[in-house]
Symmetry: C2
Subunit: 287 residues, 2 copies
């Protein structure tokens, strides 16, 4: 990108929780002017609301996304993986020549494949902001805090060095604390553990206890472990299934560790259990 | 108790994280005077420090606990379950006639049994404050926040109504938000789920990943799920083994739910998975 972001037209495709949070960060932290910030979304009311709130300058209904794309120097695709793939498929020809495109999807293999095959005159750099909230939608985007959070990028060999640098600077200005660059496959393996496995575990914990009054016996740990069970169901269903090869391996590993601890407890093997928990304690403290 | 707590001598047995947090709450929120707040502990330095800090009026080394107990109207046993049982066994005769005794142990079956057989002229009401921190010891007791937290009591038929009332009022003044009274067996079954199972899961999660740099891929959920893996190893080893019958049942239930989700993911059964996750989401939101 040969101009500062303040002089760019920026498009947000999908003004949900993450799209909304990115829009706010661009406006409030990165100097993007309202009249240069655009969005397209299936929900016209969301667009009107965001415009009235001074966040975006103009909104396009989903069917007219092409009009928006043709004027955008930078586009954030803030959609679930499958919707992002469909969007690219449908609107590829509409993107502005020379534009930078990035996405936020929680699995990267198929997105990176699509980015690899994307138009040569636009630069698609796949990404994953590691932030979220227990509620979804634009109205809740204030709950999605970027401050100090991780952001993963899975750049492709074809991405231009200066565009990658431009995006990284912007990500830091948005408030993120650390950017990690890895391959899409590495991203998917790591995320299967830190994100998807954790959501499966939280869901399984709630799944196995129907009594909602159990919270009378909560001391903080139960609440912390299950907060993310209030998940965006369609999105997480998609992420779990999309990344199932890596996720199933991680579930197996977890089951193995859980089984080992269970056996030590069952056998009342205090010394062995203490030894194993001491390693766990040290490791977590080092993280 | 026929006098207000402000006129009681209160003894804290074990000035660790919880003993320290209770001592602070008694001093700062309940009007207990320094000269009326006593403690015995194995660590003489902790006692001196707590006295110098204006928390306790006097400290007794563990071997001279009897001297302290004989003057205390109210005693908090702030020890691990086995240490509490040993303490009662050794010092039962030293407690002041008419005194109220309570404890904080995370499993209640054996403590309640001991309380049942306790001297008839003292009133032992077993309890469990549902609070804690990732660090242990008196020096960290500021991290152990009682505000709005749950407190479980497992009163015995022999406990005097007015003493139970006295203790409950005091617990609320200490800052706790909700007191639940249940049988020791019920406590142990519920706590196996909300507390012990969560600590086993957090430990298993850390156990199955040796790479501490994995936190570069954390988005909050991994951090939330594993914070409690920084556990007080001897205490939790004891709690897991002490309550293993209930805990193993809960681990089995959890493994079953996890296995069911795993199968749906493995089979890419999106509709079924969405249905199950939607129930989870609603249930957690209702908690």
């Amino acid at each position: 990108m040969n101009k500062p972001v303040e002089e760019c037209n920026v498009g947000i495709v999908g003004l949900g929780l993450m799209g909304g949070a990115i829009a706010h960060a661009l406006r409030n932290r990165c100097g993007v002017l309202q009249e240069r910030l655009f969005s397209c979304d299936m929900n016209g009311e969301t667009l009107s609301y965001a415009q009235k709130e001074g966040v975006i300058g103009r909104g396009w209904e989903a069917g007219r996304a092409g009009e928006m794309l043709s004027s955008c120097d930078l586009v954030f695709l803030c959609l679930n993986p499958s919707a992002a793939l469909n969007f690219i498929d449908k609107w590829e020809s509409a993107f502005k020549p020379g534009s930078i495109v990035t996405d936020i999807a929680g699995t990267k293999a198929r997105i990176a494949e699509a980015a690899e095959k994307f138009r040569e005159d636009a630069d698609f750099i796949p990404g994953h902001p590691m932030a979220g909230a227990e509620k979804s939608g634009f109205a809740n985007c204030g709950l999605c805090d970027f401050c100090g959070k991780n952001y993963i990028l899975t750049p492709l060999p074809r991405n231009k060095r200066e565009n990658l640098e431009f995006l990284k600077q912007l990500i830091l200005r948005m408030g993120f604390g650390r950017i990690t660059e890895v391959s899409p496959a590495e991203h998917d393996r790591k995320i299967a553990f830190t994100s998807q496995l954790c959501h499966v575990i939280a869901s399984a914990l709630i799944d196995c206890e129907a009594d909602t009054a159990i919270t009378r016996f909560g001391g903080g740990s139960f609440e912390d472990l299950t907060r993310i069970a209030m998940l965006n169901v369609p999105m997480w269903t998609e992420l779990f299934i999309e990344n199932r090869t890596a996720l199933l391996q991680r579930i197996d590993q977890f089951e193995e560790s859980l089984g080992a601890l269970k056996n030590l407890i069952d056998g009342a093997q205090a010394a062995e259990l203490e030894k194993r928990l001491a390693v766990v304690r040290e490791r977590r403290a080092a993280m």
